[in-house]
């Protein structure tokens, strides 16, 4: 058994990047304020000192430009890690990710790979308003050619980041500002974690909660409340959205017969819609209730603190949704 250490989410990410940069010269990091400023959210603290400005590059505010530079460099065999200060700003680089990163392998008939990691915090922070609170993972998860990763715990952050850097395909790595300080046990020898393996992080029989990233913690909180009322729900933490571990989800639903997906982004055409489709196709005969989603309210994020809290899925809303399923008449 290896030893465990308590690491913060941001430290786990930093260790993964640092270890991969140590073992592979082709890996480099770029983004706004990642170097001299030590990272807008201090994820990359100390990395400029360790690797120098040749491998840790501060970029101007030019998301489309530096995403594109990363993609071209990746086609030539380098392994860039591109930080978006937040995923909101990736919208400016969406064309590069959609039309270049995800497509170059197929367009070239398999001649060129694009081994690049795009990473940064996603979704809401606290009262940062409409243009800084968008959950972007849904947009990326629809794109074939990309992989999308969204860990909830530091150990997974480390293992999945290592896997992302080693992957020969473009990977979208979803973090959260409100997760960066969360602590968790990380084994000393934490190695890469294979994509497409969800984890049951709480056992239960009354319903299955499917979540990822920060919402896994919200689901767990809701599960703890429900347990006090005698309702034991199972929580499945997806860890990767694409590939999606439908087997683990389906196995859980076959046991609980009810499914609620919790995510921060909007519901229309979102990750929850995808999961609902798969569950109804693969576990139709086991379902005893409709699949429900707890998502951001179907509006942009308001600034006002109370309205914002009402828009973002909270444990209460998850709990009430589960109860609606469990105590459903007929």
């Amino acid at each position: 058994m290896s030893n465990m250490r308590q690491l913060r989410f941001r430290e786990a990410l930093r260790e993964a990047m640092t270890e991969e940069m140590d073992r592979d010269e082709r890996v480099f990091l770029m983004g706004e304020e990642v170097g001299h400023y030590q990272g807008a959210y201090k994820v990359t603290e100390g990395m400029l000192d360790r690797f120098g400005s040749g491998r840790v590059l501060d970029t101007p505010i030019a998301e489309s430009g530096f995403a594109g530079i990363g993609i071209g460099a990746a086609m030539m065999g380098l392994r860039p890690i591109v930080e978006f200060m937040t995923w909101n700003f990736s919208a400016v680089a969406f064309d590069q990710i959609l039309n270049n990163a995800s497509k170059v392998r197929q367009m070239s008939g398999g001649q060129f790979n694009c081994p690049i990691v795009f990473r940064g915090p996603n979704g809401s922070a606290k009262q940062v308003g409409s243009q800084h609170s968008t959950s972007m993972e849904h947009f990326y998860a629809t794109i074939p050619g990309l992989k999308v990763v969204a860990p909830a715990f530091p150990a997974d952050a480390k293992g999945l980041m290592k896997a992302a850097i080693r992957d020969d395909n473009p990977v979208v790595f979803i973090e959260s500002e409100t997760l960066y300080s969360v602590k968790g046990d990380v084994p000393d020898n934490q190695d890469a974690i294979e994509f497409g393996r969800a984890q049951v992080v709480r056992d239960g029989t009354a319903a299955t909660l499917v979540a990822y990233s920060r919402m896994t913690h919200v689901a767990l909180e809701a599960a703890a409340h429900l347990a006090k009322e005698g309702i034991e729900v199972e929580v499945v933490d997806l860890r990767t959205l694409r590939p999606l571990d439908e087997e683990t989800i389906v196995r859980s639903v076959q046991k609980t017969h009810r499914c609620v997906v919790v995510h921060e982004g909007w519901s229309y055409g979102g990750v929850g819609a995808e999961i609902a489709d798969r569950v109804q196709r693969l576990a139709f005969d086991w379902l005893e209730a409709p699949i429900l989603r707890v998502a951001q309210l179907d509006v942009g994020m308001p600034y006002n603190a109370k309205l914002e809290q009402a828009c973002i899925p909270q444990p209460d809303r998850v709990r009430d949704t589960v109860k609606r399923l469990v105590f459903r008449d007929g």
Partner: protein, 347 residues
């Protein structure tokens, strides 16, 4: 009459060719007093905002305009009320200079229903249609093409309205800036692009953002007029922006103006600004345009008592606005659907 200054004459050691006024302009002291009041009001509003942020009345990001007041106030003094303004998230000062009431501004920062955007936009997104304040925007450079569209609409509708578009030097690297300038030049749009170059984009100094030090040079490639000055004297800003505004109004031609300025606080409340020295900051505070305007007024017909009276009226205005914001109600959930769609909600 203007001349190009030599590098040495420039007040900033590392800047080269700013264009300085050669002759003292004659000025109307009461007009300067009016601008001084606006600048002082902005300063006090920002200080009050910082305090409110510390006590939790304001949340999220808060980007203060302290140090840059003379840029926005001088530029907007060159406009008519019907002219339009579009800016970034660092928008409090611009909103006030465009006529937004202190009450509507603070109530918005407090997230209240009486705020300019009913508490939905917050600090970074100040809108006031009645005063042709068309918003603060949060995605760097994203508002520049939008501002060109505002100018396009004025031209299309044959309205005699000019658009002013503000952004930081950090925005000059992003596509929106270049596409905006390119289109404005091609379609001869009545717009003035104002780069408020405060020397830092968050923690990144100018030298690591741009390959050239002279931001106004960017105008050359697009074939548009340019100007470049250090913000010391609010009246000089007004006069120089005024030339560009007239060019837009009379000839339907865009201009790029670089205003070299400085922010006294961090990028936002979470930035301790460790990337610059205290000496550098002190140097800039010595040359605070607000103090310069006050001194100029004292050297004219204004007495100390008169200036104190102006400052007192500002204090009263701010205190009233704080109380108004404190006492105002918050918006409730029913506001979200009608502000998302006009008409039935498109589920």
């Amino acid at each position: 009459m203007t001349k190009e200054s030599s590098p040495k004459a420039s007040p900033h050691a590392h800047s080269d060719r700013f264009i300085e006024a050669t002759t003292e302009r004659s000025f109307d002291a009461s007009h300067l007093a009016h601008l001084y009041r606006q600048m002082f009001l902005i300063r006090r509003v920002e200080e009050e905002s910082a305090r409110a942020y510390a006590s939790g009345k304001i949340g999220g990001f808060l980007h203060l305009y302290i140090g840059q007041e003379a840029a926005g106030v001088g530029a907007l003094a060159a406009l008519r009320p019907e002219d339009n303004v579009v800016t970034t998230y660092r928008d409090h000062g611009i909103a006030i200079a465009k006529g937004m009431t202190t009450r509507a501004l603070l109530a918005e920062l407090w997230g209240k229903k009486t705020g300019c955007s009913q508490g939905l936009g917050g600090s970074m997104h100040l809108f006031d249609k009645a005063h042709n304040m068309l918003g603060g925007y949060g995605i760097v450079g994203g508002h520049i093409p939008l501002a060109c569209g505002v100018a396009f609409a004025a031209k299309y509708q044959q309205q005699d309205r000019v658009t002013l578009c503000f952004f930081g030097e950090g925005a000059v690297s992003i596509g929106g800036f270049h596409e905006g300038l390119s289109l404005a030049s091609l379609w001869k749009l009545p717009i003035v692009f104002i780069c408020e170059n405060n020397e830092y984009a968050m923690g990144t100094p100018l030298s690591r953002t741009l390959s050239v030090e002279d931001v106004s040079q960017k105008a050359e490639a697009y074939g548009i007029a340019r100007d470049r000055l250090v913000v010391d004297d609010v009246l000089e800003v007004e006069a120089r922006v005024g030339v560009a505004v007239e060019r837009a109004r009379k000839e339907q031609l865009p201009t790029l103006i670089e205003l070299r300025t400085y922010r006294f606080r961090g990028h936002s409340m979470s930035d301790p600004a460790k990337y610059r020295t205290q000496a550098e900051l002190d140097d800039h505070k010595q040359r605070d345009p607000l103090t310069q305007a006050r001194a100029k007024l004292l050297a004219s017909k204004y007495t100390e008592d008169q200036l104190l009276a102006i400052e007192k009226s500002v204090e009263e205005e701010v205190a009233d606005a704080v109380k108004f914001a404190d006492d105002s109600p918050e918006p409730d959930l029913s506001i979200l659907a009608p502000t998302t769609y006009d008409g039935p909600f498109a589920y």
